[in-house]
Symmetry: none
Subunit: 206 residues, 2 copies
DNA sequence: TTTTATACTGAAAACTATTTCAGTAAGCTG
DNA sequence: CAGCTTACTGAAATAGTTTTCAGTATAAAA
């Protein structure tokens, strides 16, 4: 998936959203054409078909029957979004935020949303003494550089991700659980990939 | 201004909003008619004219050219809010959600927002073994009836609120902390006021 | 180099939606 | 009780929209 949308189609999607926000209803095909200087409704329709095929809009064959999907809203308005994507599994290889990895969107405060963050469901009890329980949602900042004692999401030797305290050494990294029945582990720098620093937590109680 | 809108018109406005929320675009006059069993488009149009005259909608004479105004949107946002109020202190006397008590608004998922919930900053370590730490935000459902072992916000004898496990007895209530260095307390029913059941938790890490 | 995707033109058919015209009937208001 | 509002019916004119058909041109991928 090199480039999901052409510049033209991104522009059309953006105008679609703007129009809905401003007027309260979507534009017609002809109105889109007028705005973009496309004389034939068919020219516009091609773009709409393309946008629909890629899941950015949904159409019903009625007047102004265009709906913006969540995918589009999140993609275009990442900087203004008030949600972060919930990733299903953090594993080696594919980029974390690949579309097929994203299972939901989690509402967060604006300052979190504008960082490059994602959410992750915690599995296991390794951080229980830090108040992080099995099933909790961890909000993770991808861009922040981890510092000593930060809670990080780490990929160890291409395995699936774990959440641990981060203790850097001169030539190695110690990943320390917050659970006295588990032991800290030490790794060479090339064995560990830090996928982000935990900045927030959400829990559904019961 | 006794009654701005008739029941019929309120229903039509509500459906208008619902339709836009669901489908992404307003219904046509004929669709409104079909939904409300009005055979003639003119019958529906009368209502739309009335709604427009009173400032609830704006119309452009194009297909689905209906916009919900802010006046009506107050309605819309009540049902689809995505925040709950953060209350400064929960104390006896004034209602929890009195305006002067509200210090902020916290983003939550839609299903939480539509319950009658509020957020509260936890003070102290009394629930630390339940993974609830000093400074965490607790999202509290006001309407849910507490059951045994629920985490509740309780007002004891007109003091300020505490967060505890709820264990009802036949003629008394036990409020049990999740901290083995603290002791459970037992109160008469008239000494305790339950202000809600914890349904979610949010934490800013560091 | 053939195929595929992008990005359109132009026109007409088919359909959808609003507006207008002409009424009816019940209930409330002064 | 006349006048106004609410709440409609029914039909036709008019306007707005989508869909279909038949192409063109360019660039990128197989």
């Amino acid at each position: 998936m090199a480039k999901e949308l052409t510049a033209r189609r991104r522009a059309i999607l953006a105008y679609l959203i703007e129009h809905i926000q401003e007027l309260g209803y979507p534009p017609t095909i002809a109105e889109l054409g007028a705005h973009f200087g496309i004389a034939s409704t068919n020219g516009v329709n091609d773009h709409l078909v393309a946008l629909e095929k890629r899941g950015y809009i949904e159409r019903s064959s009625k007047a102004r029957g265009i709906r913006i999907t969540e995918k589009a809203a999140v993609n275009l308005y990442r900087n203004h979004a008030s949600t972060v994507p919930l990733v299903g599994r953090v594993a080696a290889g594919a980029p974390i935020l690949a579309d097929q990895n994203i299972t939901d969107h989690i509402p967060v405060s604006a300052d979190i949303a504008k960082r490059n963050a994602y959410a992750l469901r915690v599995r296991g009890d390794s951080m229980i003494e830090a108040g992080i329980f099995d099933g909790d949602l961890l909000i993770v900042d991808q861009e922040r550089t981890p510092r000593k004692r930060d809670i990080v999401v780490a990929l160890v030797e291409e395995e699936e991700a774990t959440v641990k305290y981060y203790f850097p050494g001169s030539d190695s990294v110690e990943l320390r659980p917050a659970n006295s029945s588990l032991t800290p582990m030490r790794y060479r720098l090339d064995q560990v990939q830090i996928q982000g620093v935990a900045i927030s937590l959400q829990r559904q109680i019961k």
